[in-house]
Symmetry: C2
Subunit: 205 residues, 2 copies
């Protein structure tokens, strides 16, 4: 990787760090893009070369996560269901969870909780996961991604993901065991729902 790319990465990280620090200190709304730019030693205009909006910084690492899931679902072993792949992926994710120093996840949740624009943006971002999952489910079933079953399963799956984190600001992602227990409860829901849909589908023939 050339100097150019390295510098870009560095700048990007610098922006993210500055932003999160300021958000923590003053809150999301009270922090201006200009503030972030100052703190990150870049021109305000440059900020928008890295992030399309102030909200986007808060979800800066989601592109990667998204790509991870996409790869995991694409390279699924033979008989594995989207659903099983998803479960496995989350398991891995929760395990390797000692990343991001400074509890960025927790801060993010707190920020989202007291800012409507961020909450809306989060839901928007999760929509990408939903579509990805729907596509994968559709491929499994021979449906189209915008058919009912894939969409429902995807939506419920994302809801399960979200339900792993508390709605309220206190307490970040529950620790390993607890989180996985919640997850498996959620996936029991998903399994039951899928089974019911498939019965219905069979009956319709």
């Amino acid at each position: 990787m050339g100097l150019r790319e390295r510098k870009k990465e560095q700048t990007r990280r610098s922006i993210e760090e500055a932003a999160f620090r300021l958000f923590e200190e003053r809150g999301f709304h009270a922090t201006t893009v200009a503030d972030i730019a100052d703190a990150a030693d870049i021109a305000p205009r440059t900020f928008f070369a890295y992030f399309p909006s102030k909200e986007a910084v808060v979800f800066g690492d989601f592109d990667e996560t998204f790509a991870t899931l996409e790869a995991r679902l694409r390279e699924r072993p033979g008989g594995e269901t989207t659903f099983e792949g998803l479960r496995a992926w989350i398991g891995e994710l929760v395990d390797g969870d000692a990343h991001e120093p400074g509890d960025r996840d927790g801060l993010r949740r707190r920020l989202i909780c007291d800012n409507d624009a961020l909450a809306a943006h989060e839901r928007h971002v999760m929509g990408r996961f939903e579509r990805l999952i729907a596509e994968s489910v559709a491929a499994d079933l021979g449906d189209r991604p915008d058919d009912l079953q894939p969409r429902l399963v995807a939506a419920a799956a994302v809801a399960a993901l979200m339900a792993m984190q508390p709605e309220s600001p206190e307490g970040g992602k529950p620790t390993g065991a607890e989180g996985l227990a919640r997850l498996d409860d959620a996936f029991a829901f998903l399994r039951g729902g899928i089974a019911a849909l498939q019965e219905r589908r069979a009956a319709a023939r």
Copy 2:
């Protein structure tokens, strides 16, 4: 109702009509709040006395709808599940669906489809329904609204609602019969999921 209130209603409607008309003609992004104000014969500043944001106009009637569901869930007959109440409510909603001249639902969907900010806002709005449903489910089960099961059921229920409408712009809400068929498929999912969760809960004792 006094003159004052009547006038306010009238102004509100005037703003909505102007807004939707302009949105249809030029698109959401290309229409400024000033444009809407001009078309509705009010000062730009006044717009924000009626709607908190440009996005909000597009969902201007959701407060009512929300109140309807809330009432329906609150005044549920004795043994009726939240889930059954919800199903019934939607049935009524789809029946009395000859409202809103000019296919406002369809236009709304089209607008949402080509504007990220609106899509995000829609999800935000649907979140209110989710919380409402979660509260009701929690009350049924003796859980708290932010416990796993209520949240999951609520999220899936809202997903079912959303799944009644196509993701793609073409074709608005499917016509009565078709829509209800989709709905019942979706609710089969929901029932199956709930059953699975409750089995799990029973097993855990």
